[in-house]
Assembly symmetry: D2
Homo-oligomer: 278 residues x 4
């Protein structure tokens, strides 16, 4: 399917996270270890929050593999951000085009996804009808991932992200069941409004794609007092990733099945996730 990475914390050059680690996300575009597909070469995207006076994040997306994209490397080497998403895509059939690349954006919000809606092709029209008519007008692509975003927006993402995602998941599962599909939904999701970051791991089958979050930086510093990078970033700095970057012992923790985490000012949280009726 796909691989993704979400960063929040001390502003860093994007390349610090995207290119420098061993087994970086860009390396995963050629050689993912934990994905269904080892190659994620059907487009990519990066979204970042920039200067203080710009409301919405920048989203740069392109078709073609991330590993050979020179513009991505240029941007990553010159843009510094306190909150950014990066995604590499392995299409399961929908067109390889910019409007199908993640992250998706709506106002201040960004969304990216790994997984899929089973038999999405058949359910697409029913789900489209459930999207708020005003929001429907802004959909540009043809992926299940974008549809999930617009369903969540319809169900109140901007007011209550976990609730809206739960209602989206409930709608997808109910629609899938009407088509006789046993396990309609498979997802790891990242959502942000630029201030807080939510990461979800869920599948109808209870066998969700991998998802990891990084250990608190103060704990890591005690484990690895010699690592310069850790001295340069705040305790609040956190990563959520499809599969671990690098090989730092103690650095990565699996998000449990049917759970979501919130990274926010103050204490972060990990909570249980259950789909709900819309």
């Amino acid at each position: 399917m796909c691989r993704w990475l979400a960063y929040t914390g001390t502003p860093v050059l994007l390349e610090t996270i995207l290119y420098r680690p061993e087994h970086s996300l860009i390396d995963q575009s050629l050689h993912a270890r934990m994905g269904v597909e080892t190659t994620n070469g059907d487009g990519f995207g990066v979204g970042w929050y920039g200067p203080d006076d710009v409301e919405s994040p920048a989203v740069v997306r392109d078709v073609g593999p991330a590993w050979s994209n020179r513009n991505l490397r240029e941007i990553a080497g010159h843009v510094r951000s306190p909150m950014f998403f990066a995604h590499i895509r392995a299409s399961t059939g929908t067109a390889v085009q910019q409007t199908n690349c993640h992250p998706f954006r709506h106002g201040r919000w960004m969304w990216m996804h790994n997984g899929g809606i089973t038999d999405f092709h058949r359910m697409r029209r029913d789900l489209a009808l459930a999207v708020d008519p005003e929001l429907f007008l802004d959909m540009e692509g043809s992926t299940d991932s974008e549809m999930m975003f617009y369903l969540a927006l319809t169900f109140g993402l901007e007011e209550d992200p976990p609730g809206a995602v739960a209602r989206m998941a409930g709608m997808v599962e109910r629609t899938g069941q009407a088509y006789g599909i046993d396990f309609p939904l498979q997802m790891t999701l990242a959502v942000t409004d630029g201030a807080r970051l939510w990461g979800f791991r869920y599948s109808s089958q209870g066998e969700s794609r991998s998802l990891f979050y990084s250990t608190r930086v103060d704990t890591l510093r005690q484990l690895h007092p010699d690592l310069a990078f850790l001295r340069g970033v705040s305790d609040e700095t956190r990563l959520i990733v499809s599969e671990p970057l690098g090989d730092l012992p103690g650095a990565w923790n699996a998000v449990p099945e049917s759970s979501y985490g919130v990274v926010q000012p103050g204490d972060d949280e990990m909570l249980h996730f259950t789909p709900q009726a819309a």
Copy 2:
């Protein structure tokens, strides 16, 4: 908007028609004379019927300008066809991506369009709901042109092309009127099943984009007995174009307002076009 060209007759290398004439379609991608926009650089497409044992036409489409596309030139210089479409696009806002390029194909059928649905953004959901649910699943892009194709397919394009196009136009106009839009539809259209070719010219306002058809080849031969090209093609050979190619006196005839023509084995026809209730 866009420019397009439809050819049917003696099999020729595509470049004979696409590149060689003065003021060719490729030249029009940089310097159209009669269009709303002089530049048509937002993608292109060519669709052709090939060897006898292949049921559906080939459709090659790409983003970027036709004028600098080397692959288009290679194909045009090596592929021979008795029936082909070519289209150059000027986007009016929808994404520049392959799935938004013309011609569109469904089975044996091809469709291309110049013009637009006024305020399509607002009407998009209503029109999508009118598309047959089975057909809806095959829509990949976000243009009004593709939507018109799928509405016409819904309304029986494969059995009765003029009737289906009339019902599509009626549906678009009725929907537009519900939104208070005075002139919802502007279109020149080409449709083919590989055997017959239909060209439509219509607009709600009665001020349609230009459309021309070529004079019968036997008549042209009498006017221009010295032209080698005319000796190499059959009497049945015919072109329909957004704007004339070359400067051959007597070669081009305007399609009248609110009309459609049929190019077919035997006598061709020119008939009146009126939108109908779906």
Copy 3:
């Protein structure tokens, strides 16, 4: 040929200069007024100096027209820079590919060009032989513009920019004359190391492409006391452009024939330009 723009001064979002002015550079990609070609749709590039700790500028280039490129708009809306170049290309035959797009970069230096070497195809090998063998290895494209950059680097660009450009021009003219070419060189050039900016206007024929520099900001403020933009930028802020942006009276001054200007801390200068023996 092409159109370009160089900005130096108070850090601004790139879009302030690239998109917002009437008749902006992006608008010129579709509708240039003063160029040989009105359409500049064969690729584009933007190069900017970013955070203090990054030595070399970012250079983002892509094929396809600037007017429809969404990534360019995203970057322009979120990146702030005190010194940037932007270029839109109209190819005169060489391949439309990223390595042929401007600006070109070498270490801290950027270079962009409008114009051409007459019959470059014939002179290409001779000029390539004159490039320093070490530098030759870094050439990636096939344009005359990149060759001129590498010749200037060979002739000392990093120590003496005006002298190196003069020796490059002399080498091109001498080589052209050996091939019996009357007017070998036509150029407007922008060169920078991130601190200073040089703009050159020259042609063998003495009929060079247009080039303009902006009036001092303090003078403009007196002419237009009501313009908010002018209150937000320093007196040192300066633009050099192929053709004027906007319609502000008194804002633009033609660079004289066979001249070059230096924008730098302290007083700027305008000096005579003559090709020299290498």
Copy 4:
């Protein structure tokens, strides 16, 4: 590195060879088994000889992976040819651009390559100087593969292909040795003029990339009397490939080290290959 395929024989739709076999070339773009890299996603090309009245082959090349390219699939499903090349690229650093994709063409001739010149970056200028000045003007890309083609053209490819390739290889090895490079050359090559087909396997080290040729069709028919495909093609039909397509026992034979084969009307040949002084 790369993977390639050359077909000559009974005219077939390209897809018959490119897409239909198990472990087809398109499948190898994602999952090569014998290459240094398993992913070959940095561009592709297909070249074919078409209608009788067209002198030179069509060459369609594009950046991005072959596996998701819709235009390649369209062409392959509608173009029939008696002689075609297909190539999928894994860049070892040179730019991913159309002019670096194989096959390369010169007049009637096509050339494609897997392997590389060790430290090509350092030898590039010396080799460029050895190319005939007239031919040099037609080089557009920056790969070692194109350089090898133009060196072979310089050394008489059109009169004596095996001799010219031997002299090219000799020149590369001699130049490499001057730079202290132990094993300068690694290559499998396909060359054709549309009538005959040459396949070369050689490396300075004597450990060349894999190369296979298909067994004579009459022999295969005896081994597999039930295979419909074999009844539809002539005895003369032959494939040369980087790695075997499908799993047909007895179908594939390794080209020996330091050898080249000629597929031609009449008996084919397999001969020893040794680099020669230019």
